[in-house]
Amino acid sequence: MAGLTALGYISGSGRLHRWDPRFKIVALIMVSLASLGTSLPVLSGACLLMLMVVIRAGVPPGALMRDLKPVVLLLLFIFLARALVTPGEQLFVLGPWPVTREGVIAGAAICSRLLLVLLAGVAVMASTRLSEIKAAVEWFLKPIPGVPEKRVGTMLSLIVRFLPHILDQARETGEAQRARGIENRKNPFYRVIRFSIPVLRRTFLTADQLALAMEARCYADDRTDAELVSDRSDWILMGTTVLLCLCLLMF
């Protein structure tokens, strides 16, 4: 049995779960944009607030930490890169490179920004069924001529559906390779190639099988989609989000 992952819908009946998915997607975009124009202390506070929202959405903190570990490593890399290459007042020296105050602040701001957007995305995914995301995307794309909104919606929902599956396959492949001593090979390129080829092959095979299985169940663009209904409380929550985003921009 696979472990519970943070990247996917988690059943619940809270306010976030009941919020119309169209509003959730708009709110996600607004938070992402607002994060571009705010300072580091406010961003840090927003990250903490968003972390609470994610946990309230039902995401187990342990699973969140485990699944976001690669992202945290990436953020660390970005932070170090900014801290080491940004010119400014020197704080200390790390090997041959000076770490600057401006670099540390810029690195922390970028990392907080990415983390905020990531946590907001996790909150939306955890509280929204795929069928609702699909229906919302279709609703947004419908007025745009020339865009096959049903197909785009299906592609998007399948990508989200397959994330945990691909992560599982990557984990299994990694374990199988460690069992055969891949760690003894120090060349990172060799390891990346040996890891990515089987994972990609398995992913493509699974995608082929899924396409067949969908066809066997009469899949077509024209199908019964999730119903999207919004009421006054959805608008109130949207208003609150707009206010919070304005606060982010003002401070």
């Binding site: 049995m1 795929l130 945990p164 169940r217 899949y219």
Partner: protein, 249 residues
């Protein structure tokens, strides 16, 4: 005319390999047929012609009086297919959502979909887990969900492709129980396997495929002695001259 008529069915893959060659087979409504054969004998290829997932190089499949090629969507409504790998069959984010996928494709209204999903999940005893993420179900539960996804489309024929692979003893018994329940309510069942032990005692007929051809077709009791000539292990009890017991006993 039988409910399913397979006439001179041939399938050649794009690389030139012959998957199945000149298969003629008739299956009556309500029959429980086991199709056995070793790996690569053409079992899965044959099944995929029953609902138009593959197009024959030659020959045809007639389903309830109409060729599958004429209307594949009709064929897919009549023939529900449970794939070997349940993981790649599951598309929903929750158990309920996955079972609803088929009825949604049939453009049913919400209430009809709900009714069908509730019924299908009840048949496979998964109603308790309807809000669970399929990703974290056990192997047996995933296979049962795959069955529920098919049942929600209310097909007349249910086709199982190697339904016992990767399942533990308990999972095999659960899936076997679902099969017998479906057979009891009149569904036509086609089951492919290379392991007869688990299912043959419940089957009405055994068809053996070898190198893409039907080499034996008849009552299981008459054919069990010959299975090993075609790469299919004879059930242990049959080797000892006894009757093969059910895995549910």
């Amino acid at each position: 005319m039988s409910f399913i008529e397979i006439r001179n069915l041939c399938h050649r893959f794009p690389d030139g390999t012959l998957g199945i060659d000149g298969i003629d087979l008739s299956i009556e409504k309500g029959e429980f047929v086991v199709i056995a054969g070793k790996n690569g004998s053409g079992k899965t290829t044959l099944l995929r012609h029953l609902n138009g997932l593959l197009t024959p190089s030659n020959g045809e499949v007639i389903l309830d009086g109409m060729s599958v090629g004429q209307d594949p969507r009709r064929a897919r409504r009549i023939v529900g297919m449970v794939f070997q790998d349940a993981d790649s069959q599951i598309v929903g984010e929750t158990v309920y959502e996955d079972a609803a996928f088929g009825p949604e494709n049939l453009k049913l209204d919400r209430e009809a979909i709900r009714q069908r999903v509730v019924n299908a999940l009840a048949v496979v005893a998964l109603e308790r887990l309807s809000e669970q993420r399929p990703h974290i179900l056990s192997g047996g539960e995933k296979r049962r969900l795959a069955i529920a996804g098919v049942l929600a489309m209310e097909p007349e024929v249910v086709v199982f492709d190697e339904p016992f692979s990767n399942l533990d003893y308990d999972g095999i018994r659960q899936v076997l129980t679902q099969m017998l329940t479906l057979h009891k309510v009149g569904k036509t069942l086609l089951v492919t396997t290379h392991d007869l032990e688990k299912v043959i005692t419940h089957a009405d007929r055994l068809v053996i495929l070898f190198e893409g051809e039907v080499v034996r077709n008849g009552a299981p009791a008459d054919l069990l002695e010959e299975t090993e000539n075609f790469g299919v292990r004879q059930p242990c009890a049959a080797r000892l001259g006894g009757e093969v017991p059910s895995w549910l006993d």
